[in-house]
Amino acid sequence: MCRRRKYLLLHFSLQVRFTMNLDRSFYVPAKSILHSLNPLTKLTLVFALISFAFFSFPWMAPVLILPVFIMGFVGKVQKQYLNVFAKLILPAIGFMFIMQSLFLPGGETLVFKFSIFDIYTETIRTAFLTVSRIFVMISSFTLLLLTTHPSELMSDLTGRGLPGQFAYVIISTLQIIPQMQAKAQTIIAAQRSRGLDTQSTFRKRVGALVPLVGPLVFGSLVEVEERAIAIEARGFTSNRTKTSLYEIPDSSFDKALRWVLVLLVIISIVSRIWLS
């Protein structure tokens, strides 16, 4: 019972970022320029990079590839970033690049023929553009997540007027997921030991879905009611402004950088529309 109460308290306190252990997030603690920037500034930077890659001139996306890599080194997260790049980004964009250069329609200049596949210069160019856009988008998000703790971002956004409920949803989801995954592992092991077949024919595997999903879902839904009463008793729906335990620094450099980025985004989009 005591443990349950502690768990509920953890759920409700949104500012416990230094005490709780979120082993499922990408965050890597370090001291760097990227880590010390305000979370909102980093978010603006991510959206600015995405906007440059997608809505500005087509040459922008390939040009941005190198700066994004350098940003990983500036943020001192190059090891983790390269790890994510090798495991998640490279396989995805590699597959996309090969498939798109082989199959996208609309090519004219034939580069070479390989059995049934015709490869054209234009298709390769389109595929490369798409892939570099995806690279910039996913990499900048990855860098944001590597250098910003989720609850730091949520605290900052809550301080700027985002309803506290959103912060509650995101932070408590990040806590519930590891628990629920552990529960799922237990259920899979328990049902297997009772003789549930999870590996043979298709029909048996479909049949295994309900005995695995059922206990997991009902078990976690039962807790909802209790938790709702508990956080209601702690003033969850109160409209008063909540005070924050941690101050997140927002320097004048951050503010200036945000305005510069917004201005650059507007200039890049307007010039693209104007010049084309």
Partner: protein, 255 residues
């Protein structure tokens, strides 16, 4: 350039309609009514259900994703706005802990939750055959929302297994739009109907007392006197509609 401005106009119109809907629901207090404390507590659990069941399905090696059961559940018992929020946050959180490639798909997940909520509001989540229809409608909406994202962001062929079908269709000489639409139309209904049926099975197992805690709990009141024939007819009709769609879609979108 002309294509660009044309698409931009569509984009602005769609955004404007959504903003108007949002403002209307906010001013008439329809939205606030759905976001009670129980809703806010259910949303994190639903997101965790989405992601965990996605992993169980990977263990079982089934050809579906089933990563929106929680979204459909919230949409049905807490209303379309809560469903949409669950879907969107579900993808954002999957992007935060699994793979940032999930971020761009959040409008699809939001549309799935909203559609489930709207269908439940008009009473289409009360017995098995109606749930099959709901699943099909969700799949159609997911296709309509997902296709532009697949084309604009990923250039048509994304890094998922179903893009092999897209590649095959492109090789048979169809246009990019037709190929992506057809691929989604083949892949989505199976997944979304299975998702809706599982969500319905879960709701069926919850007590009426528990459901009454949620703002739209009455949407999930299961009807008496269900017949297997109705379910079979609904499934057959849906399969026919999918086959019909696969042959008709390319000619609508111009080859």
């Amino acid at each position: 350039m002309e294509i660009l401005t044309q698409n931009l106009v569509y984009f602005i119109v769609v955004i404007a309609i959504m903003v108007l809907l949002f403002v209307w629901a906010y001013i008439t207090k329809r939205m606030q009514k759905d976001f009670s404390t129980t809703t806010w507590v259910l949303i994190p659990v639903a997101i965790a259900i989405n992601l965990t069941i996605g992993q169980i399905v990977l263990v079982l090696k089934l050809p579906v994703y089933l990563d929106s059961i929680g979204t459909v559940l919230v949409g049905v018992i807490c209303g379309p706005w809560a469903g949409a929020l669950t879907g969107a946050l579900s993808n954002i959180i999957a992007g935060m802990i699994l793979d940032p490639g999930w971020f761009p798909w959040f409008p699809v997940a939001a549309a799935i939750g909203a559609t489930a909520g709207v269908m439940a509001n008009i009473g289409y989540f009360k017995n098995w055959w109606k749930v099959v229809v709901t699943g099909f409608v969700i799949a159609v909406v997911a296709t309509i929302v997902g296709t532009p994202i697949a084309i604009v962001v990923y250039g048509g062929i994304s890094a998922s297994g179903s893009s092999i079908i897209t590649a095959f269709l492109l090789e048979t000489g169809r246009s990019l739009l037709a190929s992506v639409l057809t691929t989604n139309f083949i892949a989505e209904p199976l997944d979304k109907i299975a998702t809706s049926l599982l969500a319905f099975a879960i709701i069926d197992g919850l007590s009426a007392r528990y459901l009454s805690r949620f703002p739209r709990g009455e949407n999930a009141a299961v009807e008496k006197g269900q017949k297997t024939t109705q379910l079979v007819i609904a499934l057959v009709v849906v399969v026919l509609l999918i086959l019909f769609g696969i042959f008709v879609l390319p000619s609508i979108t111009g080859g």
